[in-house]
């Protein structure tokens, strides 16, 4: 299974190819859930925003299984400033 993956302002220790913050294809085991993907990426912060195919996915819905061709964007729980 292959998804289109992008990290924003985050760096993964297990998938360093994502750390340029561009879109990359990511090959994953079939049926892997969104939550399991986040765990695999070993991201540094506690909370994240997640877009799956341009839809925001709350924490409570992240058990959803991924499918080939999905677009996943992950960004930090960021706050605004100056």
């Amino acid at each position: 299974m292959q998804v289109d993956m992008r990290l924003i302002a985050l760096e993964s220790s297990t998938a360093p190819e994502l750390n340029d913050h561009q879109n990359h294809p990511l090959v994953l085991p079939p049926g892997l859930s969104l939550a399991a993907l986040l765990e695999r990426l070993d991201l540094p912060e506690v909370g994240y925003g997640v877009l799956l195919n341009d839809r925001s996915i709350p924490v409570s819905e992240r058990a959803v299984p991924l499918r080939t061709g999905d677009r996943v964007t992950v960004f930090p729980a960021i706050k605004g400033g100056c």
Partner: protein, 612 residues
């Protein structure tokens, strides 16, 4: 303790000053900075006064932790009735100026009246002087002003807060700039300072800041700093700066683009944090040079940057002075000089931001006003004859650079742009094209994708603002309006307390109110707890609301532009949505303990000690 207990009251009309004791009861009730200064202002002026009249006052306020070793303990505020909004204005800045005021032995400066001639205020501990500015710094830029004051007074460590030519000329969104590129930026506080013929405040302080429980304070400071240092959000702010937000709002569809006609910008990759770090062909350097931190800050989110020497904006003799390393783009300035006006030229955005610093004007309001002007131009309402032939089209870097210069120096059509988006659009008969609340322009978040932010903009006491509430985490998870009212109300109260402490809100990436309470109580004593901070914040919010109601604002001012309420977002996660303000606002009023007309009830005021 921690307070010196000294207020400096300056009557500019008579060019005289006196010392008076700090009102300790008010400090107990309102903490400091934003809360305390608002209490003084509300007691001393008629809220209905013309903001630019001598009867308005301008307060320079510190918090109990300003000037201490607490991480980010350099915050200070300007409080007045805003020239842009006609509402309460509290504009918060960092740098080193606020700490210097405390180190000089003063807690608060109250500036009243209007000087009969341009002047500046010079303070060296107890030595206070009001000196003529004409023929010296009046008419000078902020940068020239700081340099000339240091040379004349032979004080390399002199800290200066001043207005540029925008403040002198009454640009409605002029700000007070300190330390070259930090600013009390919003609501037109610089226009009020300029209207008083006060060019600058220059301070050198050689005293300390007293602490009630030094050991307890330092224990709390070290624990809080360690927690902040280990936080991934702090690391991100240092690494990417605030501009990391650009990719988030772009991906989410919350990036106001071309005056809010779109919510995603195809050129975002050219004006984001990554673009600031990209090596360029001309000199092998990047736009970003290094980080910059304010007094006592252990985050260092500030950026120092320089323009590509081959860029059109820095050619010729005029451009030479902008080739150096200066304060770089933050997210808000990048949004306002980039997507909001459709420009994807990072050097042009940086140049416009430099002019905002140099001339002393708020880049958010400038960019959003220019965005409105571009829409008016493209609709044929503004003619090229009015702009001296300049085509004010979305995406024009040349128009952006030109507009920043003529606005900051109040030349020609720049005087019209200096009115702000609300007055500009009213002038051309299209008030609905102004992306404003209470006359203040939108920051870089489209509320159709961020419902909580929509409510935060609408109810902000100083007009559209991204720093008066913290709905971010929830907004970036849910696009529906349910539950937003309580998130906005609670965070408004917490931020009002934080803004009154002398510390920076960016610390909330790691800290809760527990860390603030421990540090405040160590310095000040008196039993400052989380609950007391929450109640103090609610008291401040309601005091600001009372001021605005007395100034003539009503529930009708708690609204958003028709575009946000009636034109669905064209793309992004909120595609097809508008702001559901009609659902959120009544719940917000109810949770606040206000009437259906948005007026605090007697019960609410009594509970907060505001009914007297």
């Amino acid at each position: 303790m921690t307070w010196h207990g000294r207020v400096l009251r300056v009557d500019l009309s008579s060019e005289s000053w006196r010392e008076e004791p700090l009102n300790r009861d008010w400090a107990d009730q309102f903490l400091g900075q934003r809360g305390l200064a608002t209490r003084y202002l509300a007691a001393e002026i008629d809220p209905g006064v013309d903001p630019l009249a001598p009867q308005n006052k301008l307060l320079i306020a510190t918090g109990p932790l300003t000037g201490t070793m607490a991480s980010t303990g350099g915050r200070w505020s300007v409080v007045t009735k805003g020239a842009l909004t006609g509402a309460i204005a509290c504009s918060n800045s960092g740098g080193r100026f606020g700490a210097e005021l405390r180190l000089a032995g003063w807690d608060l400066i109250i500036l009243e009246g209007r000087a009969p001639r341009p002047v500046y205020l010079w303070i060296r501990d107890d030595d206070v002087r009001i000196r003529p500015a004409e023929g010296f710094i009046w008419g000078a830029t902020v940068w020239e002003t700081e340099e000339r004051l240091r040379v004349r007074h032979q004080e390399p460590l002199l800290r200066v807060a001043s207005v540029g030519r925008a403040g002198e000329a009454g640009v409605r969104y002029a700000c007070v700039v300190n330390d070259r590129d930090r600013a009390a930026g919003r609501s037109g506080v610089g226009a009020v300072m300029g209207s008083k013929n006060l060019k600058a405040i220059a301070i050198r302080g050689t005293r300390g800041v007293p602490l009630l429980h030094p050991q307890r304070f330092m224990s709390a400071v070290v624990a809080a700093r360690d927690k902040l240092n280990a936080d991934a959000g702090r690391d991100r702010l240092a690494r990417y700066g605030t501009a990391a937000m650009m990719d988030v709002t772009e991906a989410y569809g919350a990036l106001p683009t071309r005056n809010g006609r779109q919510v995603q910008f195809e050129g975002a990759n050219h004006v984001n944090a990554k673009a600031m770090r990209a090596r360029r062909a001309s000199d092998g350097s990047s736009n970003l040079v290094r980080n910059k931190a304010c007094f006592a800050c252990t985050i260092g989110c500030g950026r120092l940057a320089h323009i590509d020497p081959d860029h059109f904006s820095v050619q010729g003799e005029q451009g030479r002075r902008h080739r150096g390393v200066e304060g770089g783009l933050e997210y808000e300035s990048a949004y306002a000089t980039g997507p909001m006006v459709g420009v994807d030229d990072i050097d042009a955005c940086h140049y416009a931001n430099m002019l905002c610093n140099e001339h002393g004007m708020d880049p958010i309001s400038f960019g959003a006003t220019l965005g409105a002007a571009m829409e008016l131009f493209e609709q044929g309402m503004i003619k090229a004859a009015e702009t001296g032939g300049v085509e004010l089209r979305f995406g024009s870097a040349q128009a952006l650079v030109w507009a920043a210069e003529v606005t900051g120096t109040a030349q020609g059509f720049g005087q019209v742009l200096g009115l702000g988006a609300k007055r500009l659009c009213e002038r051309y008969g299209r008030p609905e094209l102004a992306m404003v609340v209470k006359g203040q322009e939108f920051p870089g978040y489209d509320p159709r994708a961020m419902q909580g932010m929509g409510l935060a903009y609408a109810t902000s006491n100083r007009g559209a603002c991204h720093l008066r509430a913290d709905p971010y985490s929830d907004d970036f998870e849910r696009v529906t309006p349910d539950g937003k009212a309580d998130i906005v109300r609670r965070s408004q109260d917490e931020i009002a307390a934080i803004d009154s402490s002398g510390l920076c809100a960016f610390t909330t990436t790691a800290w809760g109110l527990e860390e603030f309470a421990a540090q405040i109580d160590g310095a000040l004593g008196g039993g400052w707890s989380v609950e007391r901070l929450r109640e103090t914040g609610e008291r401040i919010w309601n005091l600001e609301r009372q001021f605005n109601l007395a100034a003539g604002l009503t529930a009708a001012d708690d609204s958003l532009p028709p575009r946000m309420l009636g034109e669905p977002a064209p793309s992004g996660v909120a595609k097809g949505r508008v702001v559901e303000l009609g659902q959120m606002l009544p719940e917000y009023y109810r949770l606040r303990g206000w009437s259906e007309q948005g007026v605090p009830t007697l019960e609410t005021l009594g509970r907060l000690g505001l009914s007297g």
